[in-house]
Amino acid sequence: MNLAQLPVGDTARVVTLSVSIDLAQRLVALGLRRDSVITVLRRGWLGGPLQLRVGGTEIMLRRAAAQQIEIIAIDMQTKAQTATQAPTEMNPAEVIP
């Protein structure tokens, strides 16, 4: 599964970054690395970029680049656990536009 396929509001773990070296370096610096946990907050209209959250940072990334990022969706059970830990306001499911 790649990052562009991840439904809005879902969380996943990054497996590989097969983007160009320059972009990989930028993403790594922005916190998007192997094993980092990433949430899709929103998709831009007209095939626009994705709004992602990684750690303490929110970034926008074009879909073409997102397709080159392999991920594993974090299953519902783990997500439920994180959701109970989090204050209810921050439940990622709520951020769906």
């Binding site: 160009s20 070296i21 320059d22 972009l23 990989a24 370096q25 930028r26 993403l27 790594v28 610096a29 922005l30 916190g31 998007l32 690395r33 192997r34 907050l41 929103r42 831009g44 209209w45 007209l46 095939g47 626009g48 970029p49 709004q51 990684v54 750690g55 303490g56 940072t57 929110e58 970034i59 926008m60 990334l61 074009r62 680049a65 994180t82 830990q85 989090a86 204050p87 306001e89 921050m90 951020v95 536009p97």
Partner: protein, 590 residues
């Protein structure tokens, strides 16, 4: 003298700290071999004079982006007594690597954990002592925006002046993209020194985003914001401009004209109508540029700019531009000059050049005056609004066509992943400083060119004499070129005036025809028909915006070749579009 540099990622408040340290007294300085100017200032720290450099924000010490290379080059060539690393305290999970890297290179490091106030609100607590011990460098909590922790930061910087100054050797640094080891250490350090609430308390930003980036509300909101920006700029700017103009006219009438009365008319003309009017042209731009950048600073600092770029990126990426370019194009509808200067947010040089190529086609408010007048004079009240609307559409289409045509030539190499910072309240001093700084830079860099342009146009239109001037000779000479697009000689002289500023075109027309206002409208409706009038408007829309815009293009691109290219493309395209329009309209029997 001691020398220190501020280093940090974008959006860490590095420049805010710089302004706090220096009291906003920055000068731009050229470092030998660097293409980019660095902000630099001298301050008194304890008993020592210290030269402070603000390096461009960098994501990575090994990165290939222009800014990153500038920073690397500076760090490897300048002997530094201290490297002040500014980190965003909310994003230590990904920013500590920079500290580890710099430490490994042996930099005399002082670490400032900025935006401490935000981190505290987000429930992040940082073990400063442990971090300092692990990095073997002083670490200081800071809120540069509010000035908290500033004194301690200064002390920490002074504290490491006992070490000898050094250059940083980049020759053995491993590429970060492959250095899993570095990030493993970063993660370990982060987990050891930073405690964080299970999720960041970002409720306000998430809630605002739901509205601002709403699939249906987002766009109208963006348009509303842009309209508000124009309206505010002009609502405040126009009275300021009027005041300035009144003052300049007063000076001209009561001091300059009497003082030059004894001079031969040539010299009086060149001083009053050339030099002085040229300086007036530049000065009347200053309030607009000042206000525009004050508001721009609000939009950028608040975090809205990144959201606008997010919304428009899907559309713009197809044309080789990006969302930021669209915002600038929109700004161009107010005035091209600050919009061209504003493309500086696009860090990639080529992407910036492409955006700058499109902005002169934005139908600015000065051109709108001409179009409103001409469409009112030559079209019926029911048709006139559609004429103006069609010109707006033409403006957008031509800008986009230009981008599509040249996107292969100006291909961006920028890795496109932008940070969307949380919404923040902009700081008044920062807004003021930005507006003032941009206006000052514009005056400094564009004045000569604009004044020369105005003097040249004055010479052209007044010599050998106003009735048979060089401008008239040129327009006769150009007649074979302009007749096929329906532009007669009176109008082509007006186009030469339009080179100075589109605001003077109507004035020039009334001087040339000897009629003003309604009389000018009647006069024009006798000599022009709607087809040639529309052709003239199309030409005015597309050919060179004004001397100030050209000066801005030259200032920002730092290239004569590019400036000439941009002008040539505009002129050529203007002729082609008008030709196609005029000839096909005539062929169709209009």
């Amino acid at each position: 003298m001691k020398r220190i540099a501020l280093v940090g990622m974008p959006n860490t408040g590095k420049s805010t700290l710089f302004n706090r340290l220096t009291g906003g007294t920055a000068r731009v300085a050229n470092w030998p071999g660097l293409t980019v100017e660095l902000a630099c200032s001298r301050i008194l720290l304890g008993a020592q004079m210290v030269q402070v450099f603000d390096l461009p924000g960098i994501y990575d010490l090994t990165g290939g982006a222009e800014d990153e290379q500038v920073a690397q080059r500076f760090l490897s060539e300048a002997s530094l007594d201290a490297v002040v690393l500014v980190l965003n305290a909310c994003q230590l999970d990904r920013q500590l690597a920079l500290a580890l890297q710099l430490k490994a290179l042996g930099a005399p490091l002082v670490i400032c954990l900025n935006m401490h106030d935000e981190a505290k609100r987000a429930g992040i607590s940082i073990d400063v002592a442990a971090l300092s011990a692990a990095l073997d460098a002083p670490v200081q909590l800071l809120s540069a925006k509010y000035g908290h922790g500033l004194a301690e930061c200064k002390k920490a910087i002074e504290g490491i002046f006992s070490q000898p100054a050094q250059k940083i050797d980049f020759s053995h640094i491993p590429h970060t993209a492959n250095s899993a080891n570095l990030h493993a250490r970063e993660k370990q350090l982060f987990e050891r020194c930073v405690q964080q609430a299970p999720t960041l308390n970002e409720g306000a930003t998430a809630r605002l985003d739901r509205l601002v980036l709403h699939p249906w509300l987002g766009l109208p909101l963006f348009i509303l914001m842009m309209l508000a920006l124009f309206q505010l700029t002009y609502a405040i700017g126009t009275p300021l401009q009027d005041l300035l103009e009144a003052g300049l006219t007063w000076f001209k009438d009561s001091a300059l004209l009497p003082a030059t009365a004894s001079l031969p008319s040539f010299w009086q003309g060149i001083i009053v109508s050339g030099l002085f009017d040229g300086v007036s042209t530049v000065l009347t731009f200053a309030p607009i540029i000042f206000l525009f950048f004050c508001l721009m600073s609000v939009i950028e600092d608040s975090g809205y700019f990144a959201r606008a770029a997010f919304m428009m990126d899907g559309l713009m990426s197809r044309m080789g531009l990006d969302g930021r370019g669209f915002v600038m194009l929109m700004m161009g509808f107010g005035c091209n000059v600050p919009a061209i200067m504003g493309t500086r947010v696009i860090r990639d040089h080529k992407a910036r050049l492409l955006t700058m190529l499109t902005i002169p086609f934005s139908l600015c408010s000065a051109r709108l005056q001409i179009f409103l007048f001409l469409s009112g004079a030559l079209f019926s009240p029911t048709h006139a609004p559609w004429v103006v609307l069609s010109l707006y559409l033409a403006s957008i289409l031509i800008a986009m066509l230009t981008a599509v045509l040249f996107k292969a030539k100006f291909k961006s190499n920028e890795p496109f992943a932008l940070e969307l910072p949380p919404y923040r309240l902009p700081l008044l001093t920062h807004i003021w400083r930005r507006g003032w700084g941009e206006a000052r830079d514009f005056l400094r860099l564009a004045t000569t060119m604009i004044v020369l342009g105005v003097v040249l146009v004055w010479l052209l239109t007044n010599f050998p004499n106003p009735q048979h001037s060089y401008a008239a000779i040129i327009s006769d000479f150009l007649a074979p070129v302009l007749r096929p697009i329906g532009i007669e000689s009176t109008l082509s002289i007006a186009l030469i005036f339009g080179f100075v500023a589109k605001e003077v075109v109507l004035g020039a027309l009334s001087v040339i025809t000897g009629h003003e206002g309604a009389a000018l409208a009647t006069q024009l409706s006798h000599t022009l028909d709607p087809v040639s009038a529309y052709s003239f408007m199309l030409f005015s829309l597309i050919y060179i915006p004004c001397i100030s815009a050209i000066a801005a293009i030259k200032k920002e691109s730092k290239s004569n070749l590019y400036t000439v290219f941009s002008m040539t493309w505009s002129l050529g395209l203007a002729w082609m579009v008008s030709f196609v329009f005029y000839q096909s309209a005539r062929l169709l029997g209009f």
